[in-house]
Symmetry: C3
Subunit: 135 residues, 3 copies
């Protein structure tokens, strides 16, 4: 946790997709201060035309390279969300050549009891995992 | 925002899928009073059998044409949600031939700080985008 | 409702996928006390490498068989969530051979007005569906 869905249009190599996944994870670890193995990612590639991401009138056009990052997480402070967004824009550009205008991010919040990481246990409640400092 | 996921079973033409996307967007603009370029849609086609949408005992059978529309949005008033659902049922039938019983809708709510539309910025916080009237 | 997304990596037969779907549904009915036809499931298969599910440092390695179950639902009591997770771990192992360490579960909560099961109606508000006992 967080669980992060990454949606993008076909056309990237395996290496490019892996670099995006790695970069998103590094940003999550740095911004949310989660353990390095707190990694839950699902990438879905779509045919052209299956993703339409406009700009709400902000004044830019996205390319076919645009990606949507949807984050499901227990509560995170605004300061950590801000850091996460900025890191994503900077590092996806630096590491993956993603134009910062091609980055849509959305976060949805749940709570500790909403996560089971294996064995049907609730590891945030049974003490196996500590609460996170920025919740 | 909203970000709208549309899941459906294979078998529609490109034109039919595009018509569904356009209709869903028109309904969002009308019901939620968002800008016309406030459009964030992801369509996923599934093999037969990968979507099971029953009826909670309401007394109808859906067809293979059934679609699931999942909306992620900042808070919307009940009156706007009601309008959105009704518009979807009416207009997807009129424009796309969708049987109104083949329409499942689910909404999940987040907040302004949960959206970054590009450049790693939070456009609802930094003043680039105004708050929406029906939030 | 709940709407349940099941994400897994390619390599299972149609029968195996159907068994997972049926088992998840049986667990939902038992844990949440929903009607048997309260079934809304979407399965997405991914190419190898498109899902990365680690362990937050809990000390285990998942296999390529790992699945992510993401639940969207109106509020559920902790006791019902606990039961749901345990039933999933037990029954997916018994019925589908899923190693309990290969099971990631995440729940996201919304409310009654966030659901339309057909015809653009809000069946939890218009009286067609009763409130659920464990909400």
């Amino acid at each position: 946790m967080p669980l992060i869905r990454i949606d993008l249009t076909e056309g990237r190599s395996e290496e490019e997709i892996k670099a995006i996944m790695d970069t998103v994870q590094d940003c999550s670890v740095e911004a949310f201060k989660v353990p390095v193995r707190d990694r839950y990612q699902i990438v879905t590639e779509h045919k052209p035309g299956r993703m339409i991401l406009l700009d709400t009138g902000l004044g830019f056009e996205r390319s076919e390279k645009a990606i949507a990052i949807q984050v499901f997480t227990s509560p995170r402070a605004t300061i950590n969300k801000k850091k996460f967004y900025i890191l994503l824009a900077e590092n996806l550009e630096a590491n993956c050549g993603l134009d910062p205008k091609d980055l849509l991010i959305s976060v949805t919040t749940n709570t500790d009891v909403d996560w089971s990481f294996g064995f049907g246990k609730i590891q945030y409640l049974n003490g196996e995992l500590p609460k996170e400092e920025n919740e």
